[in-house]
Symmetry: C2
Subunit: 461 residues, 2 copies
């Protein structure tokens, strides 16, 4: 109920103010959308440039700093305003040597990558018997102490899903499995990579040890290696692994966000913040995660700029340090808690096409208009409540913002996510342009929408 | 003309001898073929066992020795006769550390694997400017001395082909490129992997330095890395690479062939030798190259055994050391030059379906009968002259043998060939069984075919 009077006041104010000279008609919005669909090169050039000229951009490293400099130069060149780097400090973890091999009964090497926050085995590695947990529930059910002296091996059966929900299903194995195994006595953990491909490329990603649990070495095996290990285990003999992981903590190092604005004609109308993240895991070149997202939001904002801009300011947030703990998103919310944001969106799910739009937005007519503008792109209207993305999570929570999700097709995303295979060739330029077109239309409509942009009312108390 | 009188004599002898009790009818052959098509597990079990219980089987190493022991036990268990290991010595090369990174202008790591016969950079590696050759012809055209002090980078544009001819097109880059670059002054060579995938997995394989050319370090970049390097080069600034490859020679070590027979009812009728190779490159587990081939030929011979055998002996050759120079095939021809072989076949092109049959066989009616028996498996009759495979090349040449090629579909083969991704999951059990069915029918017909098996007459002199 709090929003309504404010919205009425704002609407009245909008009526009194001169009409925004640049509010585009439906036809103009369709034209900008379709121009992006066929002609946009900005998104591709950003993904191509970041992967070629910078490559992997691990949070807190000098590579991420080079990426920030690259981003600032590119955003300046594209004509955005107030382009700046906003630095913050963070505790930085980096990969070391990583090898795994079965010692007995069937000696052979396996491909492994340390998980973020893994401790080190030391350079000599460790050798221990494998304790096998086919599912996360099996691990949870294991008695305390039952893993003493063992290397836990945690499996799962993840399948591709269009909405990415397979990640929620299998993800706990990576997110918290090593900590649970450690709490039950395991001296290390290896997991089946949380992914859906069949390549010898482990999936990196962070794992969390809760307070009171001493971190152990933790790594992900490639999926073919995990399957091979399971075939060995099925033969019934004890399986021993030698594991060497030597990651280390660099202490506090500098990371940062890169921010740019497309100023609106009405500074009082509040900002639409659109986000991607600039950092990447270190194994690939961060093409789909998330250079493509930075390309998409920036290309769309550039299309809006070319169409004459909007009443509301559109703010680009190329966040730092998403992968390792969303430090950039937290720093943004802290630094900009006084700025007037009205809506948040994020692109951080690869480069495949947008297949549906979800809302957390009060204005039903506005939702209808956006859904209608997206329909020619084959985008259906979803029934989920939009959540935004990691990097805008803190500012959404702090300011109770409206949110729109342009949901991308996730069927192939977890073939590539956090792997060495996250490279430019995985981006389909046509699907990338469809994203830009969808974002362009959505931003043009939102930027000039009358009244206030507010989230759906919370459930009645 | 020389073959005809001998064939007539042999046919006459066959008429005088008691009819082979076990010559199968067309219906019996079709039944055995179709049983293999739907029910065979022998081929899968061999591929599964070798990849799980042994893994990579680099020629001349202890892993290849374990594979020989595994193979002998399995062939004994399946009921073959005279199963034995025939050892020979060879000069053995093994991989060391291998890293590559762009030093300037765009620092980032690349995925590299040393090529067989590569020399070592030493543990500190070397740093030099890249000299780029988009095609093999460009390298050949480079003046002597023009590569002094540089790392040659050799590219190509290989595409998938069903008959595998893309390998002949792009292969010279790997087979001899490093030697040519060295002869023109290059201190090292990196190539775009000879393959057709888009994964961060370099394709291993041998390279040859001709006499008089001092070997240099030589490696293959993964294809996404090669593409990234080419994008860097396209920006026009000099590109410098730091390359570390530390392979070494172990001197003379033991390798060996594993041989097994399905004895025929008529020892004078000569042997049909069918081959695969037991060794593999070391990056993958050698599932499609060539555990599947060993599975196919062995499963088919087992089907023939179950159907009562044939007049001719069928000899299985699981050759050693194919990948690094076909040492097993040469040792076989030397050791068995006095044995009476009449026809040779090999399975060494993965596990995908047989799509055509080619012959080098004089007997037209026999070719027709085989083609007819294969037609229900969707196998067409090709127009190429069959050549056999690497491991039977020496014995074919030594004894002027008839040959049949059951040509497998190669469209996906070079996605996997010599890469870490050559793992069990890449084998489609249904296509594997189709191979076994094709081999079963072919061997049953050949094993009992009347007369002599002779190659097509050479062209008139």
């Amino acid at each position: 109920m709090n929003h309504l009077p404010l919205a009425l006041v704002a609407s009245a104010a909008a009526l009194l103010a001169p009409l925004p000279a640049l509010a585009q008609s439906d036809a103009e919005i369709a034209a900008a959308r379709d121009a992006a669909l066929t002609g946009d090169r900005v998104a591709w050039d950003i993904a191509e440039g970041l992967t070629t000229e910078v490559g992997p951009r691990m949070a807190g490293t000098e590579a991420e700093a080079r990426a920030r400099a690259w981003a600032k130069a590119r955003l300046d060149q594209l004509g955005f305003s107030n382009v700046r780097i906003e630095p913050y400090m963070m505790k930085t973890w980096v990969r070391g040597v990583e090898t795994a091999e079965i010692v007995s009964p069937f000696p052979q090497k396996m491909m492994v990558a340390a998980l973020g926050n893994s401790s080190s085995t030391g350079p000599g590695g460790i050798t221990a018997a494998i304790a096998y947990f086919p599912t996360f529930a099996d691990l949870v059910a294991a008695p305390a102490g039952s893993l003493d002296g063992k290397i836990a091996y945690l499996s799962h059966d993840m399948h591709p899903t269009q909405d990415g929900s397979g990640y929620s299903f299998a993800g706990p194995v990576r997110w918290v499995g090593a900590g649970i195994a450690a709490s039950k006595g395991a001296i290390a953990t290896v997991i089946k990579s949380v992914g859906t491909d069949r390549h010898r490329n482990p999936h990196a990603g962070g794992t969390t040890f809760r307070d009171g649990v001493e971190p152990t070495p933790a790594g992900a095996l490639s999926i073919p290696d995990a399957e091979n290990l399971e075939r060995m285990l099925a033969r019934g003999k004890p399986v021993k692994m030698h594991l060497t992981l030597t990651p280390k903590w660099l202490g506090q190092t500098e990371s940062g966000n890169v921010i740019a604005d497309l100023p609106g004609s009405d500074p009082a109308a509040g900002m639409i913040v659109i986000a991607c993240h600039l950092d990447s895991w270190d194994l690939g070149t961060g093409a789909i995660d998330d250079a493509s997202g930075c390309g998409i939001i920036t290309a769309a904002a550039k299309q809006v700029m070319a169409a004459g801009g909007t009443r509301r300011t559109i703010r680009l947030l190329w966040a730092g340090a998403e992968e390792v703990g969303v430090f950039g998103g937290a720093a943004y919310a802290e630094a900009h808690g006084e700025d007037k944001h009205v809506l948040a969106m994020e692109s951080d799910f690869g480069a495949d096409r947008v297949w549906k739009v979800d809302f957390n937005l009060a204005d039903g007519a506005l939702k209808d208009r956006i859904a209608q503008a997206l329909a020619p792109l084959g985008i259906s209207r979803g029934t989920d409540r939009a959540g935004g993305g990691a990097d805008v999570g803190a500012i959404i929570a702090a300011q109770d913002l409206a949110v729109i999700d342009l949901a991308q097709d996730g069927l192939k995303y977890f073939d590539l996510h956090h792997t060495p295979d996250d490279t430019l060739d995985k981006i389909d330029p046509a699907q990338l342009r469809q994203n830009v077109a969808a974002w362009t239309a959505t931003l043009m409509i939102l930027g000039n929408a009358p009244g206030e942009l507010a989230p759906q009312p919370a459930k009645a108390e």
